[in-house]
């Protein structure tokens, strides 16, 4: 008997509590920048694609939902195609952790529902954004040894000028 009255009382008290639910989608909850939502591909500060098609995101992916093919232009590697099957993605963020160039990033956007499952397959043009995402200054080729247009051998960070092998000095 006491139990029943106690429950009724507690339920009555809830009338005066603040609501936990929000009227989504009119009101949206706050999601931190580190939230693991929709995956994007970012660009470096010069506006070039950051992704170098190294395949590490695909290798790290526990559900194997990333597929890409390496292409090469003027010494720069880039993905010829890059597709993510979001109907398989579990938003674990391993791909972002594995990425050596900060190209692949997870964003606080989760509103990706589709009526047609096929539409959950995102191609490169769906993934590539025009900004740098969470890492504004990083450019992979500035720290790697490959020569690309605009950055010759020896011009990366902490690199000496190329050796002149014809010099006689030791």
């Amino acid at each position: 008997m006491i139990g029943i009255i106690r429950t009724l009382w507690l339920t009555f008290l809830h009338l005066f509590h603040k609501n936990d639910t929000v009227p989504y989608p009119e009101t949206k909850p706050y999601l931190s920048p580190r939230y693991r939502g929709r995956i994007i591909l970012s660009r470096d500060p010069n506006g070039e694609e950051r992704c170098v098609a190294c395949n590490l995101c695909a290798a790290a992916c526990p559900v194997d939902c990333i597929s890409l093919q390496k292409g090469e232009k003027d010494g720069r590697w880039y993905p010829e195609f890059f597709q993510i099957n979001f109907s398989r993605c579990i938003f674990c963020g391993f791909c972002e952790e594995a990425c050596p160039t900060y190209a692949i990033q997870l964003t606080p956007d989760f509103e990706m529902s589709e009526y047609v499952r096929q539409n959950l397959v995102y191609e490169k043009q769906d993934l590539l954004i025009s900004g740098t995402g969470k890492y504004p200054d990083y450019s992979f080729y500035n720290v790697s040894g490959l020569a690309i247009p605009g950055k010759d051998k020896g011009e990366a960070e902490r690199e000496a000028a190329p050796i002149d092998i014809h010099a006689l000095l030791p």
Binding site: W77, Q83, S87, R88, P170
Partner: protein, 898 residues
Amino acid sequence: MATIHIDGEPHETRDGENLLQAVLEAGVDLPYFCWHPELGSVGACRQCAVKQFNGPDDKRGRIVMACMTPATEGAIISVSDPEAKEFRGEVVEWLMTNHPHDCPVCEEGGECHLQDMTVMTGHRARRYRFEKRTHRNQDLGPFVKHEMNRCISCYRCVRFYRDYAGGQDLAAFASHNNMYFGRAESGTLESPFAGNLIEVCPTGVFTDKQFSKTYSRKWDMRGAPSVCAHCSVGCNTIVNERAGTVRRTINRYNDEVNRYFLCDRGRYGHGYANADTRIRVVGQLIDGVHHQVPSQAAISHFATFAEDGPVIGIGSARASLETNYALRSLVGAAQFSTGLAEPAHGLTLLAADILRTTPAHTPSLHDVEQCDAVFMLGEDALSTAPRLGLSMRQATRHASFLNADRNRIPRWMDASVRMMGQDFISPLMIATPAATGLDDCAVLTQHAAPDDLARLGFAVAHLIDEAAPAVPGLTEAESTVAGRIAEALLAADKPLVVSGTQLGSAALMQAAASIAAALMVRGKPAALSLVLPDANSMGVALMGGLSLDAVCDMARDGKVGTLIVAEADLTRQLAPERVEALLGQVRHFVLIDHSESPLIERAELVLPAAPITHSGGTMVNMEGRAQRFLPVAFPEGPVEVSWRWLRDFAESIGQDDRMAWQTLDDVVAAIARELTVFARIGEAAPSEQYMLESGHIRSQTARVSGRTAIRSHISVRDQPVPPMPDSPLSPTMEGTYSTSMPGALVPYYHAPGWNSEQSLNRFQQEIGGPMRGGYPGVRLVDAAEAVWSSAHYSTDLPETFAPRDGSILLLPESRIFGSEELSALAPAIAERAEPAVVRMAGDGPSEVTLTLDGIRHRLPVLRDDSLPPGLAFYPAHMTLRAFAAPVWVSLETAEALA
């Protein structure tokens, strides 16, 4: 045998090993860079440091380089000693100070020996905060990509390229931190073995330029064991596939055949499997135009052809044994042709016959490397069978090994053995019409016309064994040369004679056989190696069949209703007007092939066959070794392996009782049953039911990526992967894998901690020894039971070559790149192939017009003074498709015409 103690555990080692080999064979991980099982030790990288103790009482020990220290009885070493570990960690850290931050954009990443060794030593973070040295790269041609920043100066590349393969145009420049490994200036690497630099280099300095164009990480690709289809040596390869395209070919170790290295034709020849020249649809000729038809329609169409007169089948020396046998079964042995015209047909059969009757041993490539005197008679083996040429080059080192043994220097002590052995060179004697790529290591070269070479060969045989027929009318110079050759061969412990079909001369092969037999009579364990034109020439020769000339005769007599050509390009065998005549005289012409040839226009039915990357089968190499290749990619659309088309033909004409084969195993069993010479081909590789530890061996790695995304642009729904036809391997990552799997089934090399192909040492019973799982292929021809008497010596001595006025004898020159049929379709090989030129001696015109088969060809001339007068070389099959045997051609100079 010696017993050494590694970290307190006793391990048995072989005699004459170094500590590094002993440690690796014991299954202990010890990092190394400069040591290579085939190149030996030089102690350049200081990475394999271990601690050695003088005895049980020695607690202090001393650090030694494992690769430079012999494993002696009772040696006590410690790999896990803290001081040794620290030493190795510091060495790798020091090597890494200049290594660029490149791995994501490096083709070696994921199968990099440097990555593996760095992880093995535990080096994680770079403490060195100063500048990295950089280098400019060179363009090394279509095969090899150069990125010098990544170099760790282990010297493996120059040791392989210069010391092992005899190349001249790659060298080490500059000193200390500035070390540069490259050419004097940018340009294509000249050696036909340059592609091995990719596997020899422990890091990403030399990477595969063609593979880079369609790059995929090692862990993402499906692999399957294959056999090279581009010459008769039959090197073992692993072919890699991803998303339906063939990506690359790498070496597959077979201790008896190719061991650690491939030639560039084999490494880059697979390009034909992806090329636009592939046939991918079933075509039927309707009103002079090919229309795409369903497979079933084509098969029932064949049934109507078959009612219209006898069916003749033309097989091919580049098709598998199974395909040739299926065709032979369909049409009957009396209507089956080898696909070879005279003289190639007769020569190929003769070669098989010689190998079956000669008392001499038919050597594997590894046996060739052990020989201590080599006589190459009338065959430029470096161009017709490049990997054999590389083995012959190693044979010249035999004397330096003996010298090392005398001075008690272990054979793996590479620098010392080479330095001391500079003047100890086992004789390589070359008798060919012109200079060859092996001349630099030969003690004797003789250039003459094929007939004169054969006479020289017979003269050598006579000098060795009196019972062999004498050669009348030899010049004094020739007698001297013959005397020197005979003397050198008799002085050897294991002499080898190499010849082949290149010059279209039966007398040359007979002469080689006579020399080998004569050496056997004199009690020498001689070896005889005959180079054949194509990958499965020996298989076709052992199977037997009509020559194309006989088929032409039958057609002329109206005895051919339907002609089925399986994977053969007749235009490479018959002159254009003979092809025209043959096709004009048959009522129906059916072509089964995987790549387009000029014949395709004429075929009433064109059926797409699967190339060897897409099918399973058996090929027999020039030593008579049957080897199995397995499919790595699924045949696309209507594409089927040729024998399945032929089986369906048989079914359509009601012959299905004899040819009701479902799987490759069924065909293999049928061949073994019917043809006694092939009775053992089932032993070439395990059957399709083979299971390793209760599962099929997986052909994809455990870390393959993108399984739920790779075809999601077609459909987001996952499709199960169908079983791979004719293969015991599982097509997916599901299955078993172990280092003791059969050598014939290895889909890729991987061992824990060893992601590069250096993990091979885990798969071998001993370093450089057989694979743990066995299966090096099965030898079908063994001369053990051959009965020899001097009556077997060939007495068919040719006359002295006499030059003719106004004519020259045009000899087929075999090019490493461009002559072979399938590899020539590969873009990389086509890029590397040089333009065809007539090579002639003397200060002649810059262009000649040759009249061949009634057609006048205007061709550029290259002066080559190594050729005797009256002879000229022109590449076989390059512009003159059917040119494969010496012909007399009338010669007009361009000037005379003008």
